[in-house]
């Protein structure tokens, strides 16, 4: 009996020892833990829109003394407020008179007339002072400008205009330029060879150039630039016209109906006043064609103007003739547009080039859907405008993330500082957010964060309410820190 009892005790001991007792697990209770507060200084809440001064490193490209190559010169610049790094860099480049070892790229007095950045394509318009350069120097100037700009403010390729027009020392269009890696000598030599071959036999020469074509936005309010690589034919204007007729490769709206009547041969004319224009003659039915195609007439003319004037050298404008009569006016998106002498130039269309901004709306599955919206280039970089766009009615199939009743006035201020967007919301905004569910607050906050972080200069967002930092709007998302975008919340196209 004693042995049996001992045996049973032994078996029981062994058996219980074989069980992994819960004592192996350090079962803890959560929720009682207090995290240490950050000692970092919190910037004050912004009132009004501003951008903090910031330092940025840029690289200016100058010409070597032996005029063989471009020499990069890095320097740190201070950008004040909304100053653009690209603009500042160009200004410095143009102002520079060089050094003991570096030659200036532009003649004295050359200044920047305009800089347009859209879809990663920068269009630089320099003053006429640059025309004093010879053909070779012009090539060097363009190379220096392109290399200086690429990488700044999201710029990937560059059009360089002088006085609003494409200028080329060889007569061949340069097209939209990428970063120049070859030597200046090689660059100029290639340009000369291209010109010569094109002159001898354009078809056989197979000269390839990248051009910026302008197509319509989906809402038909603006134009969007689009790069296209084309082989130059005898008449580059015809090549460009044909490319526009074929339509966009990136989903933009076509601006020229693809019918035969739009297939016209561009004519180069020199007017009495010496201006060089390209005349495009269309039959009278073109207006009906445009209506049928749902294309605003102004959009077609603006596209032709922007595309041809910015791409073809020595073109001061275009002349559209319908049934032989030059068109002198057309209804634009914001009123009537007038063309003096029937000559259409890009400037006549009032900054119609847009860039696409990405806004985030919610869908019914609880995810954020990115919506691409065209905006003028200046608005596209304005944080307030982006947030206000979120307050507008979203497209079909999408839900607004903003609480009912908010307006632009509920955004007290936005300040961009050191990569962070400080967004000061009103007490009314806070009040309207009360009672939101976890999903609602999550979508609201990350719609704003993801949208603002689409800006080149922003990679995180901090929120304030009524000039104060708050822990949360509705109790779910912690706002006492800077929030990074949430890519996982974005619905990807299947």
């Amino acid at each position: 009996m004693k042995r049996l009892a001992l045996f049973l005790i032994l078996a029981a001991l062994l058996f219980t020892s074989g069980c992994v007792s819960i004592s192996l697990t350090q079962v803890e209770t959560a929720g009682d833990t207090v995290l240490p507060e950050s000692t970092a200084t919190v910037p004050p809440a912004p009132v009004g829109d501003s951008r903090a001064d910031r330092a940025q490193r840029i690289t200016l490209y100058f010409i070597s003394m032996d005029m063989q190559q471009l020499i990069p010169l890095s320097r740190s610049i201070r950008l004040m407020g909304d100053e653009s790094a690209a603009e500042k860099a160009l200004e410095l480049l143009l102002e520079s008179t060089g050094t003991d070892s570096l030659l200036p790229v532009a003649p004295a007095g050359t200044r920047l007339r305009a800089l347009e950045i859209s879809q990663g394509i920068a269009t630089v318009d320099l003053s006429v002072d640059a025309l004093t350069l010879n053909a070779q120097e012009l090539v060097w100037l363009k190379a220096a400008v392109v290399n200086t700009l690429i990488g700044l403010d999201g710029i990937k390729q560059v059009n360089v205009l002088i006085d609003g027009k494409e200028e080329s020392g060889t007569g061949l269009p340069n097209g939209t330029l990428r970063f120049v890696s070859e030597t200046l000598t090689a660059l100029w030599a290639q340009q000369q060879v291209d010109a010569q071959r094109f002159e001898e036999n354009p078809a056989a020469a197979q000269i390839l150039r990248t051009f910026t074509l302008y197509f319509g936005t989906q809402d038909q309010s603006r134009l969007l630039p689009e790069l296209r690589e084309l082989v130059l034919e005898r008449d580059p204007a015809a090549t460009l016209l044909e490319a526009l007729r074929r339509g966009s490769d990136k989903g933009s709206r076509r601006v020229i109906p693809g019918s035969a009547m739009t297939s016209c041969a561009p004519e180069r004319l020199t007017l009495e006043d010496g201006r060089r224009v390209i005349r495009l003659s269309f039959p009278g039915q073109i207006k009906a064609q445009l209506e049928t195609a749902g294309i605003p007439a102004w959009q077609m003319y603006a596209s032709l103007s922007y595309t041809l004037c910015r791409a073809l050298p020595r073109v001061d404008g275009i002349m559209v003739c319908i049934d032989g009569n030059p068109l002198t006016r057309v209804q634009g998106p914001q009123g009537m547009l007038h063309f003096e002498g029937g000559i259409m130039i890009p400037a006549a269309f009032n900054d119609v080039v847009a860039t696409m901004s990405t806004l985030y709306y919610a869908d019914d599955s609880g995810m954020l859907t990115p919506v691409r919206r065209p905006m003028d280039c200046r608005s596209a970089t304005a944080p307030r405008i982006l947030l206000c766009s979120l307050m507008e009615a979203p497209g079909a199939g999408m839900l607004s993330v903003m609480p009912e009743g908010v307006s632009e006035a509920d955004i007290i201020g936005i300040r961009l500082e050191d990569g962070c967007a400080l967004v000061n919301l009103s007490g009314n905004f806070y009040r309207l957010c009360q009672g939101m569910s976890r999903q609602q607050e999550r979508l609201l906050i990350y719609a704003m964060v993801n949208t603002l972080c689409e800006l080149e200069a922003v990679d995180r967002v901090r929120f304030y309410v009524g000039d104060q930092t708050v822990e949360s709007l509705a109790g779910w998302i912690y706002l006492g820190t800077e929030l990074m975008p949430n890519p996982g919340l974005i619905r990807r196209p299947s």
């Binding site: 042995r3 001992l6 078996a11 062994l14 020892s17 074989g18 192996l24 990350y446 912690y478 949430n486």
Partner: protein, 465 residues
Amino acid sequence: MAFAIVATMLIRMVGEYLFSQKVREEQRMTEDLAAGFVSVLGDRDAGALYAQVLEAAEQSDSRVIVLDTQGVAQADSLSQANGQRLALQEVAHVLRGGASTYGFYDLRSSSSTFLRSLSFSARGDALMGVYTAPIPVEGRLAGVVLYLSDAREVFDNLTRMQLRMTVWLVLVALAVLTMSVLVTRLFTRPIEELSAGIARMTNGDLSSRVTVRGHNEYSQLAEAFNMMCQRLERLDQTRNQFVSNASHELKTPLSTMKVLIQTLQYQDVYDPEMQAEFLGDIDAEIDRLNAIVGDLLTLVNIDSGRQELKPELLRLDELIDETAYRLRPLAEKRGIHMDVVVKDRIETMADARKLSQVFYNLMDNAVKYTPDGGFVRAEVGRNGRMARVTVSDSGIGIPKADLIHVFDRFYRVDKARARTTGGTGLGLSIVKQFILMHEGTVDVDSEENVGSTFTVELPIINLTA
């Protein structure tokens, strides 16, 4: 019990070792993840950070969250915790400057929705392992990696392993126990049998024997026990026989005397001759009784150790001569030739009185059991260091079957004849005891109708040698 303790400790140690190995492995993984996040967190590239977090989670079938210095999730492989402040002890530890650490949470027993929101498996795993590691950027803390793993699988595997170990150990324990029981029985059974045998013997059953198989110490012990029982039984029988014989020997003369006395008492006619004869017989019986009692007392004293030797230097040959001298008249009356041959004159230390009684008994028996005209011869000689005395006769001899019993008490080869020759039946017993007291030996050789030879050997003790 010791086995159980050792087994318990072993299982626990193995379990804890394997568990800690797994924990270290996951901690190392977390630290590696943290190192991988340094550059993307430093660049604040949310897209790249999310992609890395997703890849890490997919590769390890876990959930990975990157927190900022406030403990707020900035990247989550499930994209659910973003913007939440994860107030876990492990996070607080790292935020306060600690190194990587870990903890386990039992979601089953937790009522915290916050905790359950961290669960990442569709199975709603009960046990979750939480590992944290700091992400340093340019020497300062820039964030925390939170690595959530399914601890249930670890514990399940551990439990399975430990259960298997337990089963095996139980089987081993059973086998060991069985073996030990068998072996124990192998050793204890003979002892139990012996104990039972001793118990039976204690209760008086001297006939019981113990059976032990084999050829080991236990069987030898059992054999010795059986021999002891046999001897005790024989001794008991001998004792009983002795008591019976003693009673009989004592009762016989008493009975005879009673008859004689009663005859005399109830004699009708007084006959002086018959009276004298009867009184003579009574006297003889009294002498006989006296002799028996004397011999009995001698034996009792020997048995109880009260008989002591009184050694003195004596001449053995002279002792034999003297004894023969005393018996010669009786022998010559019957025509028996008594002879003493002294081969060696032997001087030794011995108890003269007792040796005198020894040789008297032997030579007296020889005369009694030799028919008229026979001979009795006593020889004294040296046999190495021993003195040898032989008493031989040409008497009736002793049957072979009785030879081994002649030295037993009250043993009579021929009871009727013994009675007529007047012996007590104790003489040879006394001879043997006295010789044994001298550390000698006595032996008998006999042939019926030819004669008997009694050989006594005594050690020669010479103090002057």
